[in-house]
């Protein structure tokens, strides 16, 4: 065997100047603040991770039940349950520092532009934060969340307001629950977004046939899991065509093959969401598998394939 020719593939990627050892980022809401997973493996193997969506106030979230299943995926109506930004800054981030030494993606939510501004301005000052991911696409809260992500004008307003008070790269997390995601993507880019994260969950519903009632107390919930993957590929592909800023792709990713596919479509990095909940080791497995898969597919540098399908 010639070791010279068998140099392992370079799987590092760069997001707005931030170099990641690999493109794998557990998605917000499926990884807490890392603590549960740090008990299972060294989470420093991750490219980064996106912590639980944080709002100004502490939130219980929606009433339970707020989890339902479907073929190839799940619905959640958690509704941004989180300890609130004070607690996140005072307790979660210091605890996180002990288990994760890389920059994290800070996922921030809000119910008004003022709240987005307040939360982003505060989180921007935290040294552990590498990227601010602004969630304008939560389908599970009323009077906020997705309302900002389904209107190009509102999405641009949030982007502009947040950019005015932050120094770190701002990625807007987009909703798939729109007629044309490229319009929203372009509006965010024009308003100064450094990048885009897509897709958030799709709004769905399940009904219990025994009772005729909704399974979720909130009636609707966000659909995630492998069943949404082709939709994510299509949307990442479309957005890649529409904008120049980098894309963090996500939606039903659960294998190294999915990662490569989403990168072909146009993602620079890839988030893994619901898969973490059923296989807590899925991210390290993907990271281990990636160089082998690159070799099999004759990919020398992972960054070479970003958006490659557009040029074939």
């Amino acid at each position: 065997m010639n070791s010279e020719e068998r140099k392992p593939a370079d799987i590092s990627v760069t997001l707005s100047g931030l170099r990641l050892d690999n493109p794998i980022i557990p998605a917000s809401g499926t990884f807490g603040f890392g603590e549960e997973f740090a008990k299972l493996y060294d989470i420093n193997v991750l490219g980064s991770f996106s912590f639980k969506g944080t709002t100004r106030e502490k939130r219980f979230g929606n009433p339970t039940p707020r989890i339902a299943e479907c073929t190839g995926g799940m619905l959640n109506s958690v509704g941004l349950a989180n300890p609130g930004i004070d607690e996140v800054i005072e307790h979660e981030l210091p605890a996180l520092k002990k288990i994760f030494r890389k920059p994290v993606v800070a996922n921030i939510s809000g119910f008004s532009i003022d709240e987005y501004v307040y939360n982003c301005e505060r989180i921007d000052k935290e040294e552990q934060v590498g990227i601010i991911e602004v969630n304008i696409s939560c389908p599970n809260v009323h009077d906020g969340g997705m309302a900002f992500g389904t209107s190009a004008k509102a999405a641009a307003e949030v982007t502009r307001a947040v950019k005015a008070v932050t120094t770190k790269p701002v990625y807007m997390k987009l909703s798939p629950n729109v007629t044309d995601i490229t319009e929203i993507a372009k509006a965010c880019e024009e308003a100064g977004a450094d990048g885009l994260s897509l897709i958030n969950t799709l709004m769905g519903m399940r009904i219990d046939l025994k009772t005729g009632r909704h399974i979720l107390a909130n009636k609707t919930g966000g659909l995630s899991g492998p069943c949404i993957f082709p939709l994510a590929v299509r949307m990442v592909y479309q957005v890649y065509d529409a904008v120049k800023i980098p894309i963090i792709g996500m939606g039903g990713v659960s294998t190294a093959r999915d990662v490569i596919e989403l990168m072909y479509a146009g993602a620079t990095a890839v988030q893994v969401g619901a898969a973490n909940l059923v296989d807590p080791y899925v991210c390290p497995k993907i990271i281990e598998e990636l160089p082998k898969l690159c070799e099999e597919l004759k990919i020398e540098k992972l960054t070479d394939i970003i958006g490659k399908t557009h040029n074939i």
Partner: protein, 302 residues
């Protein structure tokens, strides 16, 4: 958590033990189950989310669960055979604390909630503590584990090492809603009979007297126990069962015990925050902070 957190378990047996109720014995490393009331989360082939099922008993390489067929996932489980493999996450949740019962204990189970009480009873008897088990079912066909609980009377020899005193005793009372077996009614009815009538011998109020309607509180909404039952002397209790049962129990016997809660879960290990519950000590996750909570901290009416 350790390496054995996720493992492959081999099905040793999978038998119907009551109406729509199955007992599955698994061969796996059961060492992560350190307290009764913990659960495992099972990857059922063909389904996205795992099925969280409480552990009925665990020792060495033997892990027993009892589950009810309530949907497609548990139906698929019921159709699996010995020799087949299941991927499980084990050692989940906190479990009951057998140390909290000083003398004897009252164990209250409803439906499938009966299962985790078996390991708890075994642990309590092993610590020379007498156990009163009250199990509630809808009807006779659903009753399970009665004999297994009674058999615990024979497992531990009187006068085991370091023990002085009376042999611990396991007494079992079954209730059925339709009266087809045991005491007719709910677990709370049986508990009122047991602990209410016991007082009669102590020259205290009889259950019936104690049950007299309080003129100031005709529907018994004041205080912890309706109809004067608050004076029932109930030992430290442990309960697992449907929410209405837990609420009724808490109301009738008070907060001197532990309640195991159930909620629809995404992950089972604290990551998704799907199964949150409001407690007197803030928002908690049923899967990771529970499923067992001090009775005084949960199901407080607001």
């Amino acid at each position: 958590m350790k390496k054995d957190f996720m493992q492959t378990a081999v099905i040793v047996s999978n038998d119907r033990i009551a109406k729509a109720t199955y007992e599955m014995k698994l061969n796996c490393d059961a060492s992560a189950i350190t307290a009764p009331g913990q659960f495992i989360n099972i990857d059922v082939p063909g389904f996205f989310l795992r099925r969280p099922i409480s552990v009925c008993d665990a020792e060495d390489r033997s892990l027993t669960i009892i589950y009810k067929v309530v949907g497609k996932g548990t139906l698929a489980m019921s159709q699996m055979s010995a020799g087949e493999e299941l991927n499980i996450l084990t050692g989940l949740g906190n479990g009951f604390d057998p140390e909290r019962a000083k003398d004897g204990a009252l164990l209250v189970g409803g439906g499938c909630g009966v299962a985790p009480l078996y390991m708890l009873a075994r642990k309590l008897v092993g610590k020379n503590k007498s156990v009163r088990v009250v199990l509630g079912f809808n009807t006779k066909d659903e009753v399970f584990l009665e004999q297994e609980f009674l058999d615990l009377n024979d497992v531990y020899e009187f006068g085991c090492e370091g023990f002085e005193g009376e042999k611990p005793e396991v007494k079992v009372t079954i209730t059925t809603v339709d009266g087809s077996y045991g005491v007719k009614g709910f677990v709370t009815d049986a508990i009122a009979q047991i602990y209410g009538s016991a007082k009669k011998t102590n020259n205290e109020k009889t259950y019936e007297e104690g049950n007299a309607i309080d003129a100031d509180d005709p529907i018994g909404t004041k205080g912890t126990a309706p109809h004067g039952m608050s004076e029932m002397k109930v030992p430290y209790y442990y309960a697992c069962g449907p929410l209405p049962m837990l609420k009724a129990l808490k109301k009738s016997v008070g907060n001197h015990g532990e309640l195991s809660l159930e909620e629809r879960m995404g992950c089972g290990f604290g990551a998704c925050v799907g199964c949150s519950v409001k407690t007197t000590k803030g928002f908690k996750k049923v899967c990771a902070d529970g499923p067992v909570f001090p009775a005084g901290e949960v199901l407080e009416e607001t």
